[in-house]
Subunit: 409 residues, 2 copies
């Protein structure tokens, strides 16, 4: 048997692979695309890593992008769409960083191979998994949102939506001056959706990701549908117009003359259907496979948690592999127990944030954040601690008791 | 609201109460018996605390019984009843201690009250719990094996037995010379049951507990049924005879002339039905109550885990109370997640040990222990770590891989 087999070279598979290589466990990663294809292809996402993830990267010996220029320090909130917009910042205890995955993943893959990991370029089919399970001690499915995740039934109790709640349009742009202090701007246009404006390091250098999260049927939905290729100038003009109308806190830092997409591949349009799936599956031959990352739990990108959660989960799985390498159902249950609170909190929190209309206790919390810096900072810090965020947000009573703790009766 | 209300002043309720008082949380313990009744009554059990529990006691500032005379260092195994008995010791990394609960619990209760805990002597009925739940932020049911535990449904998936698997007879005796080095003797009479011989500190001083765990229908069952009061000398004579015949490793250290029960109350006969119950229940008023200790999970005393597990569980619950004092279903689930592996491992391991006939992989492990001191020591050390013990014992494959790790192909 040849150690651990991982399907998928995303953050889930690579964080797990690097952790296991640090402990000399043999690892093979199977991926349908080469490092060059990952590096040269269409933009994959616009991921920010929060400090809990950066701490894990340091523990893995990933020391790139550590200069001040790559970091940002908090969130600038703009809650508009009503008569009186709310505007306030919130700060992390340690900074976050957003590096384009076309740079990030190939770098991790290079490191994985340099540390003795085996990388096999090959699309794995569901039908191949039994064979892989007989070659490896354990097979981990970390293949993202694609069809392989169907091996793990969707949990209805944790998956409240049957259709995507946002239509996405994310691109990399020049011509947006950074916010001060450098941060992500989270702009909410009530009833229409959100704009996440992210300072990102990409192949074109320091640029700005604009991630429009548009309510289906709303006034910005078309951003997810119109074609850039057909009419680049028309596309950029529409983005500018919608930003001016619905997301003024970002628009005021845009220089329209310089505003443009950094390239035709630096754009992604689509939608994400949130799903929490079972942690593991039993194959016909009696062996178990584990789901990891998006193959296990997909969240809408609105609060930027999917990759951070995939990294957390890779770590949890790696610890159990190192502690107790007996890959039976007891093993799978331990993995599930270990990550459950964090992963479910991530999904529950995200699903709350995309509920339309927003629940009153969320609006109550936002109002309190605008009045009390400590409240805003705790919410912002909890982007590294979704479990703690859900301790605050799970019920209206919890919001009340959180605010009472901050002296807000 | 007046802090935390705990029903039951056993180790579960008292460890939780002392932990919470260290953090100035208001706590009320309700118990149906006074400290004097506990101290002066019939023997409650013959509990040994392993080092993980002793570490928690030190953290709680319980510093009694810390001289060398109270400790013991491992287990002397005697596996008889077949043609060739196996005999071998196993040692802990740190010692265990057995103090009669008629000394132990009143001492903890005294400390609890001295530290500002409230102690109310009163039998609580199931019907009172709603009222208590409106007086306290949280009600914890730590009332032991009694009827209150029926609030928490028994989990069929974790409770394999419908009748007790052993008939118990435990008493405190003079006239048994200690084993060398001081330890618990675990004697197995194949098909008949076990004898646990425990060096115990009791009101009469340093004495020996003999805990006979008798297979129902077997040759020692009558020990659980005959009356001491009717014929003290006849009772002691029968105990001696059965010990000689079935548990020679203990018998050889008995001086029959000095052998006698230390008092009529120093004897307990009966049987324990193992059960794993749900972690929590929702009351008609929407509030939640948590089960703790024997009220949550009862195990047969054969490997002395119930009280140690109750202490672990009290600690886990206490940590969640201190972290996140919002006593809703999320809270209950976090408690359940936190203790599940440890508590279920305790139950699963114990239920394996009382299976008749014993499963072949358990016998394989015993044989290996008799040949390899490191294997015997790891098994013995794991009396403080039931989760690790179950990592070894959960399946025949796990025993094989554990033995392979010790170089035993
Ligand atoms: C627009 C956008 C913005 C986002 N922003 C954030 C953010 O700010 N913060 C955050 O934490 N998360 C964010 N996310 C989510 C994040 O991108 C994902 O959660 C994360 O990348 C998932 O990683 P993964 O390793 O599980 O899967 P993936 O990254 O999808 O990796 C899976 C890999 O497996 C390969 N593969 C798939 N099928 C097969 C097969 N059959 N055989 C072989 N290989 C296969 C794929 O090619 C891919 O390389 C965002 C997502 C989007 C879409
Ligand atoms: C013979 C024997 C040997 C054992 N040996 C060991 C050992 O070596 N190691 C080990 O770890 N465990 C051992 N155990 C198990 C251990 O005794 C129990 O698991 C442990 O004591 C349970 O503690 P508890 O606090 O949950 O319950 P209990 O100790 O039963 O405490 C419950 C308390 O609640 C009170 N109460 C009950 N109902 C009510 C009510 N309605 N209202 C108010 N008060 C109420 C009771 O009077 C009691 O004081 C042994 C058990 C037996 C029987």
């Amino acid at each position: 048997m040849e150690g651990i087999g991982i399907v998928g070279a995303g953050i889930a598979g690579l964080h797990l692979g690097l952790l296991l290589r640090q402990h000399d466990v043999p690892v093979t990663i199977y991926n349908d695309r080469t490092a060059e294809q990952l590096a040269g292809g269409r933009m994959l996402n616009s991921v920010a890593h929060h400090h809990a993830t950066i701490t894990r990267e340091r523990a893995l010996g990933i020391d790139d992008w550590n200069d001040e220029e790559y970091f940002y320090y908090g969130h600038h909130h703009y809650l508009g769409g009503g008569p009186r917009p709310l505007r306030f910042p919130g700060f992390f205890s340690a900074p976050s960083r957003a590096v384009d995955y076309r740079l990030y993943l190939p770098r991790l893959l290079e490191e994985f191979v340099a540390r003795g990991g085996e990388f096999v370029v090959r699309p794995v089919q569901a039908a191949d998994v039994v064979r892989l399970s007989e070659r490896h001690d354990l097979v981990v499915i970390a293949s993202g949102r694609g069809s392989m995740s169907a091996m793990f039934p969707r949990r209805a109790d944790k998956s409240p939506y049957d259709t995507p709640q946002r239509k996405l349009c994310v691109g990399l742009y020049e011509g947006v001056a950074p916010s001060e202090p450098r941060g992500v701007t989270m702009s909410v246009a009530a009833g229409q959706g959100e704009l996440l404006e992210i300072p990102m390091y990409a192949p074109a250098g320091h640029v700005t990701a604009l991630l429009f999260e548009n309510v289906p049927g709303g006034e910005l939905e078309m951003l997810a549908e119109i074609s850039y290729e057909d009419d680049p100038a028309g596309f950029e003009k529409l983005v500018l117009e919608k930003t001016r109308e619905h997301h003024p806190a970002t628009f005021e830092r845009i220089d329209p003359a310089r505003f443009h997409l950094t390239g035709p591949l630096d754009l992604l349009q689509g939608a994400v259907l949130p799903a929490v799936r079972e942690d593991y599956a039993r194959l016909p031959n009696g062996r178990y496979v584990i789901a990891l990352g998006d193959a296990h739990t997909v969240v809408d990108p609105v609060i930027g948690q999917g990759a951070n959660c995939a990294s957390y989960s890779a770590w949890a799985l790696g610890q159990v592999i190192l502690d107790d390498p007996n890959f039976d159902e007891r093993f799978c249950r331990k993995v599930a127990d270990r990550r459950r609170n964090h992963v479910h909190a991530t999904a529950d929190w995200t699903n709350l944030m995309i509920r339309t209309p927003p629940p009153p206790h969320l609006l109550r919390l936002f109002a309190a954040m605008s009045e009390n810096q400590a409240v805003a900072d705790e919410f912002t810090e909890n982007f590294s601690h979704p479990d703690r965020q859900w301790d605050i947000l799970a019920t209206p009573e919890r919001v009340t008791s959180f605010l009472a703790r901050h002296g807000m009766g």
